[in-house]
């Protein structure tokens, strides 16, 4: 369990990193927290010829820029837990972070790494999809803005091109009061999920004016529940009809089946977790009404 031999290059600034990535093309990979890349290299499932260490780059801001929350690619997962903007506007994001691995993983792992790695059960890709984030992919040729729904193409496959790296993720700040929840089911605390569901609701008084639902674990990429999201809009705080909506969402999905969970189980779980997240998001709205 040792990596195949590779070259290591420490990038001093963004221009340097992009130049190195351009030079190496398909043979180069950014190294961020290393929490996914290094295990993959040890198992020789990944064998990049060149690692471009981007840890010295100043891509570490979480800040409001106009209507969006700007999150630098190197923001480590633990930072969200104490960030007031995340708590105020993206409660499902905040909840999701609690489910990512263990403290050491959250101290090292970065958002750029998590979404570029694109594990089908990872939380942050689902959160990007839930909050309609835009991913900024940079290269020596300039920046590309990629909508989250166009970014995740398959398990461990994204829209990034050779020579490109994520520099930031932008989350549009909800215009109205926003509540949300993220619930996950795994065998053990910190495990990758068998299935998880996130919900974000926007409110006008006691009425839902905007809704997003996402689930991961069911398929090779996170899934938005566009069909049922519309059903939530206009509903009242105390009558979201969450169970029916959960069932309906589940019925649109044909989940994978493997030794950690049958398809039928995952399907049921998605329905149940959808119900619970909606009810929790409504409860939050009630408490802050």
């Amino acid at each position: 369990m040792r990596p195949a031999s590779f070259g290591y290059h420490k990038a001093t600034d963004l221009a340097h990193a992009l130049a190195l990535l351009a030079e190496f093309g398909d043979d180069g990979r950014p190294l961020a927290g290393g929490q996914s890349l290094v295990p993959m290299m040890n198992l020789r499932l990944a064998r990049p010829a060149h690692l471009v260490d981007i840890n010295a780059l100043p891509l570490t801001a979480i800040e409001r820029r106009g209507d969006v929350l700007h999150v630098g690619a190197l923001v480590r997962h633990h930072r969200y837990l104490s960030d007031p903007l995340i708590a105020a506007h993206f409660p499902a994001f905040l909840e999701a972070v609690h489910w990512i691995g263990h403290p050491t993983i959250r101290n090292h792992g970065s958002i750029g790494g998590s979404i570029s790695h694109a594990d089908p059960t990872a939380e942050l890709p689902a959160i990007c999809l839930l909050y309609d984030a835009t991913i900024i992919a940079s290269s020596t040729g300039g920046d590309r803005r990629i909508a989250a729904r166009d970014f995740f193409l398959g398990a461990y496959v994204t829209a990034l091109q050779p020579g490109e790296m994520v520099t930031a993720v932008e989350f549009p700040i909800p215009p109205a009061k926003s509540t949300g929840a993220f619930i996950e089911l795994g065998e053990r605390r910190g495990d990758f999920a068998i299935a998880s569901v996130g919900v974000a609701l926007q409110w006008s008084g006691r009425q839902i004016t905007g809704a997003a639902v996402v689930c991961c674990g069911a398929r090779l990429v996170p899934i938005r529940a566009s069909e049922v999201e519309n059903l939530l809009i206009g509903r009242q705080l105390d009558a979201p009809d969450a169970a029916a909506i959960g069932r309906r969402f589940a019925n649109t999905i044909e989940p994978v089946s493997d030794h950690s969970g049958s398809s039928a189980y995952r399907k049921h779980l998605i329905g149940e977790l959808t119900r619970r997240t909606i009810e929790r998001a409504c409860q939050q709205a009630l408490e802050t009404a």
Binding site: L185, E187, R188, S260, H268, E272
Partner: protein, 780 residues
């Protein structure tokens, strides 16, 4: 002071070895680095079953560093031979490197050596193993399917061995039965997973012709014997050292082909050779455990008395027979232990081991008994449910209460606290039982309580192995005790300490016998150069037999110390008592001589010895186990809470009531029990080694092979009874494995209780629980 000075045996002494282990000073196999050392990486089979057409090593020529490669052609004829001398058992050998065929994914096909481990790993990747696939025997059903070809030439089928055990009149029991209850239970395949994997370093010294082998093993002397026989070397010129071993759990309680091979490579290349197993290799290619299916048929009287039991036992053995316990060991053990703690006198068990294209089954903490007790105790609850009896009452009605008790197979149980343990547990759980009952009103949150009542035959002696006809052959444990001229003590122990606390408990035992402090006793182990021949640490024998050996050997030295003291104080030896580092005169407590002075007399100022007494203070004892072993007993209980809609189960409480006879050190006993329970929880809820239909392993890292982790484990409460056995010198029974034996059964019963269903198999993960609770969900 002396008469009431505190005993060291039974004291809560913190483990001496922890200073080394917790401060990073311990030295494990990978810490051994020798000049000129070569590193070995195995090229392993990717095909589960196939004929090797070619091993293409030409890629090595392109490398810009030297490599050495060896295949089965080089080691032809060298193999692991693990045969139980039963006429029904089909013979097989596991070549050190595959010859002709591969029989499971992960089997070592070639050894590639280079000057560092990165290079040998890169080099091993250059090999191309061309295999012509053969039909895969992947399940127990396929192994019993006569149309599939046997794994070995000359075999008549893939049933490696099938035998019967019986006692009493089963037909009569059946005829007398008011209820006949038949069930099939299944335990999944597991890996063993100590924190430190295995590893071997070997070095042959040409000058004195001594081969030294360091191995992360539980049984250094057996490794020595096997290497000597297989490589035809004098055993006196082989030294096997087990350095600090980071957990064994039975996985390291067998001799592996790689231990022989690395020794052979060191001799062949003339350089030290090192191989350190990585986690993937450990998971796919060391040994696996469990993987049982039992069909039990119980005959029960109208008033709830067990009259007889019929059992059919199958174990999916994987490809090869492991040394020294063999593939007959695992199923045979189930047949032997199923009668358990209950009083009935008619029994018949048919047991078999089946060959499949998987990693071989070996010994892992509990050895067969976690599976046997799962079946036995699930059956007890299933019978109780069918008869409408309370699980405690039903067990208490059938529990053995009079000792010694001769069981249906002729094994004699020494005294224990079976009924008392059940009764105590009943009291401890009263509130949980009530809560479980109340939760049945809910279809979303259910609470369940489950118990497992069992006995464990421990401290097996030579007669037990003679009966089994395994290559282990012998059951004694040896200790050599020596006092130095300054009065400090060395114990050279035939056991190997890899977490059992032996460096502390053995010092406590010697300290009491010799009247010295435990801290003045140095316990050495794990090196065949210094320790007397023994079979190593496994089978819950260390405390009972190792402790016995140390006690008896120490008493021999104490006798001599007393004789010297008596001579110097002009009294008789029976007037002398050894305590607190002094030899006191019983009748005049103000008269004493320091033990160090006696030791000095025995070894240096020998002119002070009584006339005719020879110098020296050392003694050796080989302590064998009793004919039928000694039986420890325990009751485990689990309280679970299940979130029915998601199948998520939380373990709320885990309680153990156990009796291991004399307790040498309560801290060590509790630690052993808790560690075992955690592993049992792993069996019950998480761990599952999965193969697909082509026998490709799917759970080859810790991302997929789920070990129990701290957040899932509740506080484990441990309560004790202490019924010393008359069969070992200190009254101690074995306890190392017991913790792992009960949890699968207790948790299985708790789930059954919570959901009101019968639980037939493990692991009880979220998916399984969800499928078991279908009846509680509204139809969708």
């Amino acid at each position: 002071m002396k008469a009431d000075s505190p005993k060291h045996i039974g004291a809560r002494i913190q483990r001496f070895e922890d200073v080394r282990l917790l401060s990073g000073a311990a030295r494990y196999i990978d810490d051994i680095r020798l000049p000129g050392m070569l590193h070995c990486t195995f090229a392993r089979a990717h095909t589960a079953h196939g004929t090797i057409l070619e091993i293409d090593t030409s890629g090595l020529a392109d490398l810009d560093y030297p490599t050495w490669v060896f295949t089965g052609k080089d080691t032809a004829g060298l193999s692991m031979k693990a045969h139980q001398d039963y006429p029904e058992m089909q013979y097989s050998e596991q070549p050190l490197l595959a010859e002709g065929k591969v029989r499971f994914v992960g089997e070592a096909v070639a050894a590639v050596l280079a000057e560092d481990a990165y290079k040998s790993e890169d080099a091993a990747e250059q090999l191309f193993i061309d295999c012509d696939p053969l039909p895969v025997v992947g399940t127990m059903a396929q192994a019993r399917d006569a149309s599939l070809p046997p794994l070995f030439d000359g075999w008549h089928s893939n049933v490696i061995v099938q035998r019967q055990m019986k006692g009493g009149d089963l037909e009569a029991a059946k005829a007398a039965a008011a209820h006949i209850i038949k069930r099939t239970y299944r335990n999944q395949r597991q890996a063993g997973v100590p924190m430190e994997g295995r590893g071997v370093v070997a070095h042959y010294n040409n000058a004195d012709r001594v081969l030294t082998v360091w191995s992360s093993t539980q049984m250094p002397h057996l490794v020595r014997t096997y290497i000597s026989e297989e490589l035809d070397l004098p055993e006196s010129r082989i030294r096997v050292v087990a350095p600090d071993v980071g957990g064994g759990f039975g996985v390291k309680g067998q001799v592996f082909g790689d231990e022989v091979l690395i020794a052979w490579l060191a001799m062949k290349t003339g350089r030290p050779v090192k191989w350190i197993e990585d986690r993937r290799e450990h998971l796919i290619a060391s040994i696996h455990a469990r993987d049982h299916e039992h069909t039990l048929e119980a005959y029960v009287s109208a008033d709830g008395r067990l009259l007889g039991l019929k059992a059919d036992i199958s174990v999916d053995n994987g490809a090869y027979s492991t040394y020294p316990f063999t593939s007959a060991g695992e199923p045979g053990m189930v047949g032997k232990v199923l009668p358990g703690p209950y009083d009935f006198q008619a029994y018949e068990a048919t047991f078999r081991a089946l060959a499949t294209n998987k990693c071989s089954i070996g010994t892992y903490r509990g050895v067969a008994r976690p599976s046997a007790v799962f079946s036995q105790e699930r059956l007890m609850d299933d019978i109780a449910a069918e008869l409408g009896l309370d699980p405690f009452e039903f067990r208490l009605k059938n529990i053995i209460r009079e000792f010694p008790y001769k069981n249906v197979l002729g094994f004699t149980y020494d005294p224990g606290s079976y009924a008392e343990s059940l009764e105590l547990m009943q009291t401890l759980l009263a509130d949980d039982v009530a809560a479980a009952k109340a939760s049945h009103a809910s279809d979303t949150t259910r609470v369940g309580v489950g118990i497992a009542c069992f006995i464990e035959q421990t401290a097996h002696g030579t007669p037990d192995f003679t009966r089994r006809r395994t290559p282990i052959e012998t059951g004694y444990i040896a200790a050599r005790v020596e006092m130095a001229p300054d009065g400090t003590v060395t114990i050279d122990l035939g056991l190997q300490n890899h977490g059992q606390g032996l460096e502390t408990t053995m010092a406590q035992v010697a300290a009491d016998a010799l009247g010295v402090l435990p801290s003045s006793v140095y316990v050495r182990h794990g090196d065949t150069l210094t320790t007397p021949y023994s079979v190593g640490t496994w089978g819950s024998r260390g405390g009972a037999l190792g402790g016995g050996a140390v006690h008896v050997a120490s008493l021999k030295i104490a006798e001599k110390l007393k004789a010297i003291a008596a001579h110097l104080m002009q009294t008789t030896p029976d007037e002398i008592e050894l305590a607190d580092g002094q030899a006191y005169m019983r009748s005049a407590e103000d008269r004493f001589i320091p033990i160090s002075k006696l030791a000095r007399a025995a070894l240096r100022n020998v002119d002070q010895l009584p006339p005719g007494m020879l110098p020296g203070l050392e003694a050796e004892q080989r302590q064998d186990g009793p004919r039928d072993g000694t039986y420890a007993n325990a009751v485990h209980a689990a309280v679970v809470e299940i979130d029915v809609p998601t199948g998520k189960m939380q373990l709320k409480r885990f309680v153990v009531v156990e009796d291991c006879g004399t307790i040498l050190n309560p801290l060590v006993v509790d630690g052993q029990v808790r560690g075992g329970v955690v592993q049992g929880i792993g069996s019950a809820m998480f761990e599952h080694f999965v193969y697909d239909e082509e026998c490709q392993p799917l759970t080859t890292s810790f991302a997929d092979y789920l070990m129990p982790l701290a957040p899932e484990i509740p506080n484990i409460e441990v309560h004790h009874f202490e019924t010393p056995t008359p069969l070992t010198p200190l009254g101690a029974k074995g306890l190392g494995e017991g913790g792992a034996i009960g949890p699968a059964a207790a948790i299985g019963n708790a789930v059954a209780n919570a959901l009101g269903v019968e639980v037939r198999e493990t692991p009880l993960n979220a998916n399984a629980i969800w499928h078991l609770s279908a009846h509680l969900r509204p139809a969708e």
